[in-house]
């Protein structure tokens, strides 16, 4: 039995997402309130457009350069180290949930994984990657 694309598309998505109804309400309310506030200020706010309002403020001279400065590479290093440990944490959740059913092997499997990243952590610490002048 093989299924063609039209049959594939007509498969209903499995329903039963009632548990998410609360979240849905929450998001709907959040969206509604923010939309309402934006529209309110759009309608009710006083509008007196003037070209001077858009020009550079303070002491009268034009800006020398763009306000966006180049960031230091060190921010990148911190961010990427953060991602790596974030992913490590992501692996911990299913492990914690299913710890009872995966036995000792599963337990030590995670310990080995943590050990690997622990080595990485010691490396970056000793290397001074976590220091900020």
């Amino acid at each position: 039995m093989t299924l063609s694309s039209s049959q594939f598309m007509s498969m209903p998505l499995k329903g039963n997402l009632e548990e998410y109804f609360n979240i849905f309400i929450f998001m709907a309310v959040a969206f509604g309130i923010s939309l309402f506030l934006v529209l309110l200020s759009f309608w009710r706010g006083p509008k007196r457009p003037d070209a001077e309002k858009l020009s550079a403020y303070e002491c009268g001279f034009e800006a020398f350069s763009d306000a966006r400065l180049k960031f230091d590479v060190r921010f990148y290093l911190v961010a990427i180290l953060f991602i790596i440990f974030d992913l490590e944490i992501a692996f911990l959740f299913p492990w914690a949930v299913s710890l009872k059913s995966i036995g000792l092997f599963g337990f030590f499997s995670m310990l080995l994984f943590l050990g690997t990243l622990g080595i990485g952590f010691v490396y970056e610490w000793r290397k001074g990657a976590l220091e900020w002048e």
Binding site: R68, K70, Y76, A79, A90, G103, T116
Partner: protein
Amino acid sequence: MTTTTLIFYILSGVLLSSAVMVVTTKNTVYGVLFLILAFFNAAGLFILAHAEFLAMILIVVYVGAVAVLFLFVVMMVNMETKKSQRMDRRYLLMGIFVGGVLVLELVVVFMSWNTSPEAFELIFAPQDGLSNTHALGALLYTHYALIFQAAGLILLIAMIGAIILTLRQRENVLKQKIGDQLARQAKDSVQMVDISPTSSFRNLESLDDSATPRGRTSRVS
């Protein structure tokens, strides 16, 4: 079914249009923000497919970390929009050609799509009494232990690589040495001196030199 289908189309519609905005928008910071929107909608799609764990990971890892990294990178790169526009023209045709071929292939594959019956059961995450996260965990650490450990190695290599390539030891910078700071004792740095009204200032200065301020902040060479 109708509600879920409706939600599916809303989510995927927003996902696709924000994905288009990511590549077309001039301001790269807006591009990253659209990317975050796309991630959120993709997370919604995962929830529709009953893959809650993936949805949450998408938000925690991609929105929480990857998007932040992208923002840093965008800030780091010197943006000169005017220069890059001229380059765009040259590569536009080539890009459209390659992208077009890939789209064509996808369409052709999709038109003649045949799914083997085994594959069909795999479309949705298993639901037999286990939560999604639990089902994932039951396989990941035993059945896929090798791949799990390999993922750990990949993360380690990424860490080493990032440090080797971007870390520069700065010289002549003041650094905190917490160990030294805590180990500092009053008797090492404070000296009680009786100053007789007759002694001059000069003597005091020489005393000050002998009691060097060890450890508070010291120069690293």
